[in-house]
Structures are given as C-alpha cells and as structure tokens.
C-alpha cells in the first residue's frame, strides 16, 4: 500500500521513549517454563494469527477482547496507536498469551488487554502481573488505570489486586475504571508476581528464534475444550 508521507507526518503519532521490559521466565504448574518478554512493532504480523481465531469465540468475551486486541495491535503496527507496549508469553516458542498496555503520561499507565490462549495455567494472571510490573517498576509510573470486559477479568484484576474504583472513564469505555497504585502493587507483588531473571540463554534463543502460533483449530480447542465435546 502506498503511503503519502507528507500526510503521514500529521497522522503518525510520535512515540515516547520507554525503558525496555527485561525478559523473565516463569515456572508453571505443569513444570513448563514460560518465557515472558516484550515484543515490538515488527513482531505484530507474527502475533496476529494467534488473535484472529478468538474473534468468533463469544465464551468469556473472547470475541470482544480478541477483536480489540487485534485492532490495537494492527493500529500499533501501522502507526496509529502511540506509546504502546506488548508483552507475550511463550512455551518452547509457542505463543500462549499476550498483554498490551500504553503510557498515557509519564505518571499514568493505561492497561489495555490480556489474552490467554492456553487456559488453566494462570497464564493470563502471570502476564497481567508482568504488565503491571512493567508499568510500576520499569516505566516508573505512579498508577495504572484498568477496566474489565469479562467477568473473569473483573474477578482477577479488581478483586485479586483489590483495585481502587476511580471516577470518570477508562479510554476503552465500558465498565468503570479502577486503579492500581504503586503502593498496592508492592503490597500484592509477593503473591501475584512470579518469575526469574535472567532467562537462561537456551530458553531465550528458542523464544526469540520464532513466535510460533498454534493452528486455528488448536486455538479454538484450547479456549473451548472443543475436541472432547465433539467426541463425548
């Protein structure tokens, strides 16, 4: 697609400098090692095929969350979303979940979405915690505004972290905004934030070599448990 760079100067938002998120490895209940690392704009095309199948899954509002994540990643890739970061989880290179977020200002973070593709291992919880870790510990922000689009998200974030209700609107619209402050983050860190650094070199190499994505059928089955439903 041809781009008019003259016009693009007006449309393309400037990005703020952001410190990187240092990768970590989390040992899951299965004993699997999940590498949690930041990805960048050029990685988006590799990630989108993992998000696309969720657009047709109403269960737990995967369709709402998935379509928004898809649009956010695409907008970021095509320079229409500013100050965004994205963190993914990989097991043996396979993408098992992702979170995205952005800086609204140096003091305030805006949590966008959490999408777990592999379920039942608290992957969403681990990745959400990594996102908060980045906002508070590495970006040095004072608080993060969070909202929920699914009942699972509401229970997990608002209740597990004991978030504070805020007035006004989260930029995603919808449900009321809640805030995670620095103090609340450090109070919860010991029970909600896992992982070790540095990531062993061999694990990091596998993760960086390729972002592998499960087939569309596998992704749907991971989310719905559809294989057994068909048999039984």
């Amino acid at each position: 697609m041809r781009i008019d760079m003259e016009l693009e100067r007006y449309l393309r938002p400037p990005d703020r400098e952001m410190p990187p998120y240092p990768a970590k490895v989390i040992t899951l209940a299965t004993g699997s090692k999940m590498v949690v690392r930041q990805v960048f704009r050029e990685d988006v095309p590799a990630i989108l095929p993992a998000v696309r199948p969720t657009l047709d899954i109403p269960r737990d509002y995967y369709d709402v969350v998935g379509s928004r994540v898809y649009a956010e990643l695409l907008a970021w890739y095509r320079y229409r979303y500013r100050d965004v970061f994205c963190i993914i989880g990989q097991i043996d290179g396979l993408l098992v979940g992702l979170v995205n977020s952005r800086m609204f200002s140096p003091q305030l973070g805006i949590s966008l979405h959490t999408l777990a593709i592999e379920r039942g291992l608290r992957i969403g919880a681990h990745l959400f915690a990594a996102k908060m870790e980045h906002h508070i510990e590495y970006l040095g922000q004072e608080e993060v505004l969070i909202t929920a689009e699914s009942p699972i998200g509401f229970r997990r974030w608002m209740i597990e972290y004991g978030l504070e209700l805020r007035e006004g609107q989260h930029e995603l619209g919808g449900a009321a905004p809640y805030a995670l402050t620095r103090e609340m983050y450090f109070d919860a860190k010991h029970r909600l934030v896992a992982g070790e650094r540095p990531v062993p070199q061999e694990l990091m190499e596998v993760a960086q070599r390729e972002i592998r994505v499960a087939s569309e059928t596998d992704i749907i089955e991971k989310i719905l448990g559809a294989r057994r439903r068909e048999i039984l």
Binding site: T27, A29, A194, R228
Partner: protein, 395 residues
C-alpha cells in the same frame, strides 16, 4: 431382599457445558446408560435423580419429572434425591431399595449438576449452604475453609505434609489424563505446584494450607446407571451385570467443631463398615476404589477411615505408590473429583460408572487389572452424611 445389579452405565464429559441445560445433560448420560444396558423398549419403573441445588444454580426444580418427560419414560415414578455432594450415592441407594424391595424392576438413576451457570464465588456460596447455618455459614465458613482447617489439624496429628497433598493432586491429574470424561486434562509437577518459588503464584493459597491444586474444579456434568435384578439384566444385554454388593450410610454432627475429634471422620468409618458387612468382605478385599477427594486431604483421610490403611499410614501408602494406577490398591483411577471434576449431584453416580467400567474391563488406558471388588465413598456435607458402596463383578 432381592439382589440388585447395575446393568448399564454412562456419563458425559465433565467440564463447563454452556450449551447444555441440566436436564439435557441428565438425558444424555441416561441415554448412554440405557443403551449400555440394552434396555430397548423395556419399561423403566422409576427415575431417581441425584442433584443438590438445581433451584439455586439453574432456577429449575422437579428435575426428575423433567427427565422423565425429556426421555418419554412416562408413567415412571420420578424423584429427586438431595444429600449435598452425596446426592448421587444416595440416589443409587434409593434405586437399590426400590429394586431390592420388589417395588420396581428397572430403575434409572441419574446424577447431575450444572454449576457453571453461576460465577465461581456464587457456586462456592451455594455449596456452603450445606454448612451449619448459625455456627459456620454465618461466619463465612465455606467448604474450602472447612477443608483447610481439617487439613491443618490432620497434618499436625498424623504427619501429613504439603508434599503428600501435592502427590494426591499429581497422581489424580495424571489419572485424569487417561480419562476422556475428565474435566482437567493437565499433567502437573511437584516443581510446578510446590517446590519452585513461582508456585506461590501459580498455585496460590485458597484456604491455608490448601492451595489451588488441592481443590477440585467447579464442573458441569451428569452420569447415570440402570439398576435392575440379575435375572432381568441377563435378558437385556450380554455385558456382565455388576452386583451392588453392599451399601452403608452414616451421619455425624452438622457442625464440625461439635465432633469429639474433628479429624475423626466417624460417618465415613461407619458407612464403610456397614457397606463391607453387607457385602461380606473387608477393606483388604478391595481391588480399586473411588474416594471423594474434593480436597486432596480427603483422599488420604478417607483411605484410612474406610480401613485401607491405619491412621497415619495413608500418606505413606500414597508416597510409596500403593494407591497409584499400577499400585496394589489404585485409588481414583478416574482422576477423582480432583481431575474428573465435581458437579456435586453427579459425583456419586460418576464414581459408580467408573467402577462399573473398571469391573467390566472397559476403562481403557486407566484399566486396573483383574478387579473383582470395587469400593466408593460419596462424602456429603463435611463428612456429616456419607454413603459407601461396594460393587462386585461375578468371579
């Protein structure tokens, strides 16, 4: 009394089943059991449904009548049996009584619960309605809370450790991997749920000392059996009928703290003694068992109270592999409540279905070799209303 057999058994996969109503699930499981029994057009005299809380979970009651209607089994008698999480075991007992007394020739017993229609905390609250209202529920004592307090006492008194609890979870989730009907299909490791520092987050405390993987999932599901006399069973199908050799039931104080020793599961012990006496056998004669491991500590405690092991020896037997699938006495080859899931009213019937399959040699990859006597405990309340059952294959 007439002898009673299970002529057919069937169930559906336990999981979250958004698209199926409770009665749909009961019907699917029932049709499988009826097909398995070779029932054909043979009349069903009574339909008994084990269910704990359809009114609260699903805004529907009289589910036994609804099941009769769904399956066009009129004019069969129909009743729902409610005994908390032991509703399934109690339903089987009522099926037994109907056949043994001569009041009925063929009884369909189904158990089912659709718990995922409500959110998790609401499901936990509904299950907690079985607690003593003035002394327990009003103070926020849920079933995980009771199990946590029980576990703490039991660990202190009998030397059970967090590692033993984790071993129950690992064993049963490994068994569940071999069971296509199980809710949880995930192999877990000691490192992942206990020894690695990340396990604090991956396997968080639910009710100290119990962690997430010490607790059964909240599931939807249904299971069913067809009960009849041995003579009728032989006219229906060539599959070997499984004798209901013994049933025992016992109760205990409603409030846990009123028990002389809260670690003594008296109702489990008495129910098991009654079942073994009726079946004219002993715990040592059992080849495979399904115990009610809603929490990992319960598998260990029940294995001692029913007489498989001395008090304080259950955890050691577990650690030595005695209760593993290839051990001397496999416990919960289905994955138990821990992995198969625990749709409360379905559990007792699902335990019977698993044992029927084990005794017939139809349990696939999780088959226990040469089992003749099988035993199950369906644990109601927090051990205040327990049903124990011995099933037997003709040797």
């Amino acid at each position: 009394m007439k002898p009673v057999v299970i002529a057919g058994a069937g169930m559906i996969a336990f999981e979250r089943r958004d698209d199926d109503s409770l009665v749909d699930m009961l019907a699917m499981a029932s049709l499988r059991a009826m097909d398995d029994a070779g029932l054909g057009d043979h009349p069903v005299d009574a339909v008994i449904v084990g269910n704990m809380a359809s009114g609260l979970f699903n805004h529907q009651v009289s589910v036994a009548s609804a099941l009769v209607d769904k399956l066009s089994l009129y004019p069969a008698a129909a009743e729902r049996i409610e005994n908390g999480p032991a509703s399934g075991g109690s339903a089987i007992k009522h099926g037994y009584q109907a056949i043994a007394s001569g009041m009925a020739d063929v009884v369909l017993v189904a158990g089912g619960e659709k718990m995922r229609e409500v959110i998790g905390p609401r499901a936990t609250d509904v299950v907690a309605y079985m607690a003593q209202p003035e002394a327990e529920y009003v103070y926020g004592v849920s079933l995980p809370a009771m199990a946590g307090m029980f576990a703490r006492l039991y660990m202190k008194k009998y030397g059970v450790t967090a590692k033993h609890l984790a071993q129950v979870a690992i064993k049963n989730q490994a068994n569940g991997l071999l069971n296509p009907y199980a809710h949880i299909h995930m192999k877990i490791t000691m490192e992942g749920i206990l020894t690695h520092p990340d396990s604090v987050v991956s396997n968080p405390i639910v009710a100290d000392p119990l962690r997430l993987y010490d607790c059964c999932p909240v599931s939807d599901g249904a299971a069913a059996v067809v009960m009849t006399t041995p003579e009728i069973a032989k006219t229906l199908s060539s599959k070997p009928p499984i004798e209901v050799a013994g049933i025992g039931q016992a109760t205990d104080t409603h409030a846990l703290h009123e028990r002389e020793d809260p670690t003594d599961l008296k109702a489990v012990r008495i129910a098991a003694e009654k079942a073994f006496a009726m079946a004219r056998c002993a715990p040592q004669d059992v080849h495979v068992a399904e115990l009610h491991d809603a929490f990992t500590i319960l598998e260990i405690a029940e294995s001692e109270h029913v007489g498989f092991f001395e008090k304080g020896e259950g955890a050691k037997a577990l650690a030595n592999g005695v209760t593993s699938l290839d051990g001397h006495l496999p416990i919960n080859p289905s994955g138990g409540l821990k992995a198969r899931g625990h749709p409360v009213g379905a559990t007792g019937v699902a335990q019977a279905v698993e044992l029927v399959w084990q005794l017939r040699g139809e349990a696939g990859e999780r088959q226990v070799r040469d089992a003749v006597n099988a035993f199950m405990v369906n644990f109601g309340g927090f051990g205040n209303n327990v049903v124990a059952t011995v099933l037997r294959r003709e040797s």
